[in-house]
C-alpha cells in the first residue's frame, strides 16, 4: 500500500522517466525540459480558466447574485466561451501607437509570468530547474513584468494608459522592496536561495506539527507582509490602482482589445499564482502536508490546495474592500511595510541566535507585535481620521 502511494506521489516523475527512456540519451535533458514546460503551461492555463469562473461566481455570491451559470454545468464552461469571444474579436491598435511595442507588451508579460514557474517546486522532485539562486531568479523575472506593463502603457499613446502605467510602475517598484525584504528572513533561516532546500527544511515534523516557517513569529509577520506586498505586486484589490476602473478606465491596457486583452488578463493571473506559489514555498512549507499523518496524500495535491486557498482569499478581499488612493498606497509601502520588514529581519536574527524555548517565543513575538501596534497607532494618530458624531436640528 505504502509503495503504491509513493508511486502516486511520484507518478509524474515516473512517467517522465519512462517516456524519456525511449529517447537517445543526448536529447533527454532537452526533451525533459520541454515536457515539463508543456505541463506547466497546460496546468496553469487551466488553473487560470478555473479561477476566472471561481472569481466571478465567488464575487457573485458575495454580492448576493449568481454569477455565470449558463454555459455548461453550473457555468463552468464559461472560460471556453470567453476564450472564443476574445479570439474572434477585432484586434484594434490605435493609430498613433507604437505597433511593435504594443504587440510585444502582452507577449512579454505572459512569457515573464510563466518563466517564474521554472523555480517553483510543485511537488516532491517536481521542479523544472533546481537553481541554487532560485529565489533571486524569481524576483528578477518578476521585475520583467513591470517592463511589460510600462511598454503597454507607453506604446498605446493614450493618456489613460500613461496614467495607469505611471501608477503601475510606482506601485510595483515600491512594493518590490518589502516583497524581497519579507522573503529574506526565510533565506537567512534556511541559508539557501534554492527553493527545493527551503521546502525540504520545512517538510519535517515534530510530533504531528510541521516546521513551516509561518509558525514562527518572524515567519508569520513575514508571511503577512509578503502577502500584502504580493497583493500590490499583482495589482489585486484593494491595490488595483493601475487598472482602477472607476478612475482611469482600465489603466495601462485601456487600448487593448481582443486576444491581447485576454493575454493581459492571463498574464496578470499567472503572475498572481506565481507570487502566491512563492509565498507557499517560502512560508507555508511548499508541497509538504500540514500534519505528519497526512503525508500519504500526494505532494502536488497539497501544493494546489494551498494555492487555491490563497486564491480564494484574494477573491474574498476583492469582494470586500474599497480601493486605496495613490498617496495612501505609497505611505503604506514606505512608512509601514518597509520599517516592519526591516524589523522582521532583526527578529529573525534574534530567533536564530537564541536558544529554543518559551523565552525565545516571547521576545521574538514581542519584537513583531509591539512595533506593529505602535507603528499603526502612530500613523493613525497623524491622520486624525475618525468616526464622527453628528448634530441634529429639530
Amino acid at each position: 500500500m505504502n509503495l503504491k502511494l509513493d508511486q502516486l506521489d511520484q507518478i509524474f516523475v515516473i512517467l517522465n522517466n519512462w517516456l524519456l527512456g525511449y529517447l537517445p540519451p543526448v536529447v533527454r535533458p532537452l526533451c525533459s525540459s520541454i515536457l515539463a514546460i508543456a505541463l506547466i503551461l497546460v496546468t496553469f492555463a487551466l488553473l487560470f480558466a478555473i479561477t476566472t469562473v471561481l472569481e466571478r461566481k465567488g464575487l457573485g455570491r458575495i454580492q448576493n447574485r449568481f454569477g455565470p451559470n449558463r454555459v455548461g454545468p453550473c457555468g463552468f464552461l464559461q472560460p471556453i466561451a470567453d476564450g472564443i469571444k476574445s479570439l474572434t474579436k477585432e484586434d484594434i491598435v490605435p493609430n498613433p501607437a507604437d505597433h511593435v511595442v504594443h504587440f510585444l507588451a502582452p507577449v512579454l508579460l505572459v512569457a515573464a509570468a510563466f518563466m517564474a514557474y521554472a523555480v517553483l517546486p510543485i511537488g516532491r522532485n517536481m521542479i523544472l530547474v533546481d537553481m541554487n539562486a532560485g529565489v533571486l531568479y524569481f524576483f528578477a523575472i518578476g521585475s520583467l513584468m513591470e517592463l511589460a506593463v510600462f511598454m503597454a502603457g507607453w506604446s498605446s499613446r493614450s493618456k489613460y494608459s500613461l496614467l495607469g502605467a505611471m501608477r503601475a510602475i510606482a506601485q510595483m517598484i515600491s512594493y518590490e522592496v518589502p516583497l524581497v525584504l519579507a522573503s529574506i528572513v526565510v533565506i537567512m533561516q534556511s541559508g539557501s536561495l534554492s527553493t527545493v532546500s527551503i521546502v525540504n527544511m520545512q517538510a519535517t515534523y515534530t510530533g504531528i506539527w510541521p516546521h513551516w516557517f509561518v509558525f514562527t513569529p518572524w515567519g508569520f509577520a513575514g508571511f503577512a507582509l509578503f502577502m500584502i506586498a504580493a497583493t500590490a505586486e499583482s495589482n489585486r484589490s484593494p491595490f488595483d490602482l493601475p487598472e482602477g476602473e472607476s478612475e482611469i478606465i482600465a489603466g495601462y491596457y485601456t487600448e487593448y482589445s481582443g486576444f491581447k486583452f485576454a493575454l493581459f488578463f492571463l498574464g496578470e493571473y499567472i503572475g498572481m499564482f506565481a507570487t502566491s506559489a512563492m509565498a507557499i514555498t517560502l512560508f507555508l512549507g511548499g508541497w509538504s502536508a500540514p500534519f505528519s499523518f497526512l503525508t500519504w496524500i500526494p505532494s502536488y495535491f497539497w501544493f494546489f490546495a494551498k494555492l487555491l486557498t490563497i486564491i480564494l482569499t484574494f477573491i474574498w478581499v476583492r469582494g470586500t474592500l474599497p480601493r486605496l488612493r495613490m498617496d495612501q498606497l505609497m505611505n503604506l509601502a514606505w512608512e509601514f511595510m518597509l520599517p516592519m520588514t526591516l524589523l522582521n529581519l532583526l527578529t529573525a536574527g534574534v530567533w536564530h541566535f537564541m536558544p529554543a524555548g518559551a523565552l525565545r517565543w516571547l521576545i521574538c513575538g514581542a519584537m513583531v507585535v509591539v512595533p506593529c501596534i505602535l507603528l499603526s497607532r502612530g500613523l493613525k494618530q497623524r491622520k486624525k481620521f475618525q468616526v464622527r458624531k453628528y448634530r441634529f436640528s429639530e
Binding site: 484589490s237 482611469i248 474599497p322 464622527r388 453628528y390
Partner: protein, 386 residues
C-alpha cells in the same frame, strides 16, 4: 459656467500656475467613462495626478424638456417629469403637482397627502441607498456595497410597481391628489419593507462607516465650505453636510410634514464623508416619518372628485412650487396665460446647481478623488441636462 457649457471650449493652460507648462496633462474624463454617472465630461488638467483645473461639460442628454412642456397640457407634462431624475420619479411629480396646485388653487385631500409623503419618503430611501452604493463603487469596492443597496432598492421598486404599475417611471401624482389608491395588502407590504429597512442600515453601518479605507478616502476630501454652499445656492443633503440648516420640509412646511416628528442631521466639515453620513442619517429620519405616516393614514378620497382634469385651464398668473427632493431643492416655475398649456415652464434642478461647485471641490485633489467627489454630489444627468 457660461463657457463650460460650450462643448468645444478648451482650457487655456497658460492661466494655470505650475512649475513647467510642459508638465501638465489635459485629460477628458468622459463622456465615455465608467464613473461619470451618465453622459458627462470633465476636462481635467493634471499635474502628475493632481487636478489643477477642471471644466465640467454637459448637455449630452439634453432633450428639450422645458420647451416641450410649453406645448403640452399641464397633465401631459406629468409623465415627462418622471424622466428628469429617473431614480426618484415620485418626488419630481410632487414638485410639479405642488406648482400647478399653487397656480390653480387646488386643495389636496388628507389621504392623498399621506400617500404623497409615504411614496416620497420611500423615494428618498431608495435614492440615498443607491447613492451610498454608487459612491462605494466609485471608490473601487467592486460592486458589493452597490449590490447590497440595490437589493433594498428592489424591494421599494416592487412596492412602487404594486401601487403605480411602473417601477421607475411611476407617474403617480395628479393635481389635487394621487392617481390610484393603494391596492389591497399594499400598506402591509410597505410596512414590512419599512420595518426591515433599519436592518440594512445597521448592516451597512457596521460594515462601512468605521472602515479605515473609507475614512482615508473620504475625510478631508472635496471640502465645501458653508459660505460657498450658501453663495452657490447648494441645497439638499450636500448643503446640510456643510452645516447649512436648510431643509424645505422644515422651512416651507409644505404638505403635512408639520405633523411628523423628525430631525435634520447636519455636518461640520462639508467633506465627502459628511455628505455620505448625512444621507445615511437622513434615511433613518425618513424611516421615522414613514412609520408615523403609515400609522396615522386616514381613509377617504385620494383626489377631490370635483377637480377638473380634462381641459384643465388655470387662471393667468405664475407660481413656483418647490419640495425637498432627495437631491435638494427641486422647483417648478410655471406661468399661465389661461391656456391649456403653460406659457412658461421652468425647472430648478438640484443636480445641476449642486454640480456647479464641482471645480471648487476638485482643485488640488487627486484624479481618484474627482470621481468620489462627483459621486458624493449625487447627480442624475437626466435632470442636469433636461
Amino acid at each position: 459656467m457660461s463657457d463650460a457649457t460650450n462643448l468645444t471650449a478648451q482650457i487655456d493652460i497658460n492661466t494655470i500656475p505650475a512649475l513647467g507648462k510642459e508638465q501638465l496633462l489635459e485629460l477628458a474624463m468622459g463622456p465615455q467613462h465608467p464613473s461619470t454617472h451618465g453622459v458627462f465630461r470633465m476636462n481635467v488638467v493634471l499635474d502628475g495626478e493632481r487636478v489643477m483645473k477642471l471644466k465640467p461639460v454637459f448637455g449630452y442628454l439634453h432633450r428639450n424638456h422645458e420647451k416641450i412642456a410649453e406645448s403640452e397640457t399641464y397633465l401631459g407634462s406629468m409623465p415627462y417629469t418622471d424622466r428628469l431624475d429617473y431614480i426618484c420619479s415620485i418626488t419630481n411629480n410632487w414638485a410639479y403637482a405642488i406648482a400647478v396646485e399653487k397656480l390653480a388653487g387646488i386643495e389636496v385631500p388628507e389621504r392623498a397627502e399621506y400617500l404623497r409623503v409615504i411614496t416620497g419618503e420611500l423615494t428618498r430611501l431608495q435614492n440615498h441607498a443607491c447613492l451610498l452604493g454608487f459612491l462605494m463603487q466609485d471608490m473601487g469596492a467592486s460592486g458589493t456595497p452597490l449590490m447590497y443597496a440595490f437589493r433594498e432598492r428592489e424591494k421599494i421598486m416592487d412596492l412602487f410597481e404594486g401601487l403605480t404599475g411602473a417601477r421607475m417611471m411611476c407617474n403617480y401624482l395628479r393635481f389635487g391628489g394621487c392617481r390610484v389608491d393603494t391596492p389591497a395588502g399594499w400598506m402591509d407590504a410597505a410596512r414590512k419593507v419599512v420595518a426591515e429597512f433599519p436592518r440594512f442600515l445597521d448592516e451597512y453601518e457596521n460594515l462601512l462607516v468605521g472602515n479605515e479605507i473609507l475614512m482615508d478616502r473620504t475625510q478631508e476630501v472635496g471640502i465645501l465650505s458653508k459660505e460657498l454652499a450658501i453663495n452657490a445656492g447648494i441645497s439638499g443633503p450636500m448643503a446640510r453636510a456643510s452645516g447649512v440648516d436648510y431643509d424645505i420640509r422644515k422651512v416651507d412646511h409644505y404638505s403635512i410634514y408639520d405633523r411628523f416628528n423628525f430631525r435634520i442631521p447636519l455636518g461640520e466639515r462639508g467633506d465627502v464623508y459628511d455628505r455620505y453620513m448625512i444621507r445615511f442619517l437622513e434615511m433613518r429620519e425618513s424611516i421615522k416619518i414613514l412609520e408615523q405616516a403609515m400609522r396615522d393614514i386616514p381613509d377617504g378620497p385620494i383626489v377631490d372628485p370635483k377637480t377638473k382634469i380634462r381641459g384643465f385651464r388655470p387662471k393667468p398668473g405664475e407660481a413656483y412650487g418647490r419640495i425637498e427632493s432627495p437631491k435638494g431643492e427641486l422647483g417648478f416655475y410655471l406661468v399661465s396665460d389661461g391656456a391649456l398649456n403653460p406659457y412658461r415652464y421652468r425647472v430648478r434642478p438640484p443636480s445641476l446647481i449642486n454640480l456647479t461647485v464641482l471645480e471648487d471641490l476638485c482643485i488640488g485633489q487627486n484624479v481618484a478623488d474627482v470621481v468620489v467627489i462627483l459621486g458624493s454630489i449625487d447627480i442624475v444627468l437626466g435632470e442636469v441636462d433636461r
